[in-house]
């Protein structure tokens, strides 16, 4: 179980998150808010790239800062901007990341091959990534996030660049993962969440505004779909983003 307790984070004088409390257990969680609301900051704190100014993040009751590498071993992360080496093939890149993830080199290649097949890149494992489309790169990122069979999988804006077919394939992967793992999906695209999220977390004014099932949120905001509820909650803020 992943618990976020009274976490706040500021950059200089700007408060990004204030007193955030959340608990994640098995299932798919949609992290939904307009751009700049603090989703990425929250995710970066969960993956230990940033440290909370106050409060703590606990994994099964232990502070993740003290767990260090043994916690990160349980986390799969696809950042908003997936970084890769252009001259590498996906196999080379994933093998390198496997080494960083502590995967035994004897099994790393086989695991990378399986992951690439799972995301539909089994036939281009040796091709240089600089020749890949945005969608293919994103799929390498998804494969990378699943490298160490993580307990917590975090995707930050994962569907950017994916075509409709790829999105469907991705949703299937997410649904399957959600059965046994914590899956946190950060996006501002409502439809991504609507179909697969068990719960939705909404951040407004630097705080957690809602953390509930889709049905409960729709009911609370008298809406028949998540998009309407989203507009009701964020109103002008979301519209400004859209414009």
């Amino acid at each position: 179980m992943l618990e976020i307790k009274n976490v706040s984070k500021s950059f200089k004088d700007f408060t990004v998150l204030k007193d955030v409390n959340l608990t994640f257990d098995r299932g798919v969680y949609g992290l939904l808010s307009p751009n700049g609301a603090g989703k990425t900051t929250l995710i970066k704190m969960i993956v230990t790239l940033l440290h909370p100014d106050s409060g703590e993040i606990l994994w099964n009751g232990e502070n993740i800062a003290s767990l260090d590498g043994s916690y990160r071993e349980l986390v799969g992360y696809l950042p908003q901007k997936f970084g890769y080496y252009r001259d590498d093939s996906p196999m080379q890149f994933l093998t390198y990341m496997a080494a960083l993830n502590g995967v035994d080199s004897a099994v790393a290649k086989e695991r990378c091959q399986k992951l690439l097949e799972r995301v539909g890149l089994g036939d281009v494992t040796r091709k240089k990534m600089k020749k890949f489309s945005g969608g293919m790169i994103q799929r390498v990122g998804i494969a990378n996030a699943l490298m160490n069979d993580p307990q917590i999988v975090i995707f930050d804006e994962p569907t950017a660049g994916l075509d409709p077919m790829e999105r469907v394939r991705f949703r299937h992967i997410l649904a399957e993962l959600g059965k046994t793992k914590i899956v946190i999906l950060s996006t501002h695209i409502v439809s991504d969440i609507e179909n697969i999220a068990d719960q939705v977390v909404m951040i407004k004014d630097h705080e957690v505004y809602a953390c509930d099932t889709i049905e409960a949120i729709l009911k609370a905001h008298i809406a028949d779909n998540l998009e309407t509820a989203f507009m009701n909650i964020y109103g002008g803020e979301a519209l400004e983003d859209a414009i």
Binding site: K44, V47, R72, Y85, L100, G102
Partner: protein
């Protein structure tokens, strides 16, 4: 095992195809520009001959020389010089040149003519009596006579005699000077340096070398001059490669951390099991690369120096503490030790530079600021390396400033890396 896997991964990253191409191009360019400097360019006695002669004389006269032996040596020299003089006259007879001055006169006449009309008969007038068709050929003849055709020892026979006499005078003067040492004012740095130098030269080991100076034959007056030429030519040869080694360190170390940050790989790395420990693997890789560059580039071009002038290896165990010049090298180095010292100095400086560049590259958000910080650092270290070569010629610097410079460079680099890694492991990663 995990760490070695990561280290291997980082090593592969450092040696990207582009880096390999640039390194190969620079090596080729350097070889074309600076590859030709060698001991052989300094005309004079073959080191093997000078060495054998010294050994022979040393066996004949022992390690010290008394006035009778000195007289015997000088008599030998006189005989040798007389023989050389005969050769000289015979050789000059072919060209109708009787002295070095004749050739200078020829130059003057040609110079004067050149001011009027380069193509005119007047211009070549001075050349006619030498049988040369034009000034160009004449000038070439002169140059060849003095630098190619005439053995060095013939052209400089006068100097050799003076030098032998000069030694006797110098030794007497040194004896007087050493006797007066306690009366010298110790407050002046220059005087103190001078005193060390004199005292050092007049040590028992130096006495032995003075003997060798007297005993050796050839264009260079002694074996020691051979060693000096070898030392200086190696230093000149290696300083270009030292500069390249330092440039290569920057070229190899810099792009990886900056590239990772620019391409967005850094957050991917930091969120893995290894986390920010990946920096240690990167640093380990950088250090390994620096060792590799020193071993390959430094080793290869040191080998080239000795392959080109194989006989300089005879000088490997010869002392470099010169009596013939007012120069004192640190701690009575042999030529071999001097080569190792030069090699070691560049190795230590390049390791220090690697540490500093490693930190600077992590602090840079993209290539431009990284280059703006790295280029001055590399230039600074190249300058430092050159300056340190000169330090060896002054006793005070050689004994204290030289090792201190290396120590400070190493400590600054190590402290920078330690502080940076410690801070970075706790700090937020914000890009």
């Amino acid at each position: 095992m995990r760490f070695w896997n990561i280290l291997w991964g980082e090593m592969r990253r450092y040696w990207r195809p582009f880096t390999l191409i640039v390194v190969a191009a620079l090596l080729l360019m350097w070889n074309v520009l600076f590859g030709s400097s060698s001991f052989a360019e300094r005309k004079g006695t073959d080191p093997a001959i000078a060495y054998d002669l010294s050994v022979e004389y040393s066996e004949r006269f022992g390690e010290t020389i008394d006035p009778n032996e000195r007289a015997e040596v000088e008599a030998d020299y006189e005989k040798a010089l007389a023989a050389l003089n005969d050769q000289y006259e015979k050789y000059m007879g072919q060209y109708d040149i009787h002295s070095e001055d004749d050739c200078h006169l020829l130059y003057s006449a040609a110079d004067a003519a050149r001011n009027k009309d380069y193509e005119s008969e007047d211009y070549c007038k001075g050349a006619e009596r030498w049988g040369a068709d034009n000034l160009e050929e004449l000038a070439e003849t002169c140059i060849q006579i003095f630098w190619d055709k005439i053995p060095y020892e013939i052209a400089h026979r006068e100097q050799m005699t003076e030098s032998i006499l000069g030694w006797a005078e110098s030794v007497d003067e040194w004896e007087q000077f050493v006797a007066s040492l306690p009366t010298i004012d110790r407050s002046s740095l220059e005087e103190r340096t001078l005193k060390w130098e004199i005292a050092n030269e007049y040590s028992p080991s130096a006495e032995k070398r003075i003997t060798q100076v007297m005993q050796a034959n050839g264009g260079r007056l002694s074996l020691l001059e051979c060693v000096y030429d070898a030392g200086e030519s190696f230093q000149n040869h290696y300083q270009h490669w030292a500069a390249l080694i330092l440039i290569l360190c920057g070229l190899i170390v810099l792009p990886l951390p900056v590239g990772n940050r620019v391409s967005g790989v850094t957050p991917m790395q930091y969120s893995t099991h290894a986390g920010r420990r990946v920096m240690l693997a990167q640093f380990g890789g950088a250090i390994l690369n620096t060792l590799l560059v020193n071993a390959v580039v430094g080793g290869f071009f040191t080998a080239i120096y000795f392959l080109r002038d194989k006989n300089t290896l005879h000088l490997w165990n010869c002392p470099m503490n010169l009596c013939a010049y007012p120069r004192i090298l640190w701690l009575d180095l042999t030529f071999g030790q001097f080569v190792w010292l030069t090699y070691g100095k560049v190795l230590l400086l390049s390791l220090a530079l690697t540490g500093i560049l490693f930190v600077l590259s992590h602090l840079s958000r993209n290539y431009l600021p990284a280059l703006a910080l790295a280029i001055p650092s590399v230039i600074l270290f190249i300058r430092l390396s050159d300056k340190m070569d000169f330090m060896l010629n002054i006793s005070l610097y050689a004994r204290f400033v030289y090792p201190l410079t290396l120590l400070v460079s190493g400590v600054v680099a190590a402290a920078s890396v330690l502080v940076f890694v410690k801070q970075a492991r706790k700090a937020d990663y914000v890009n």
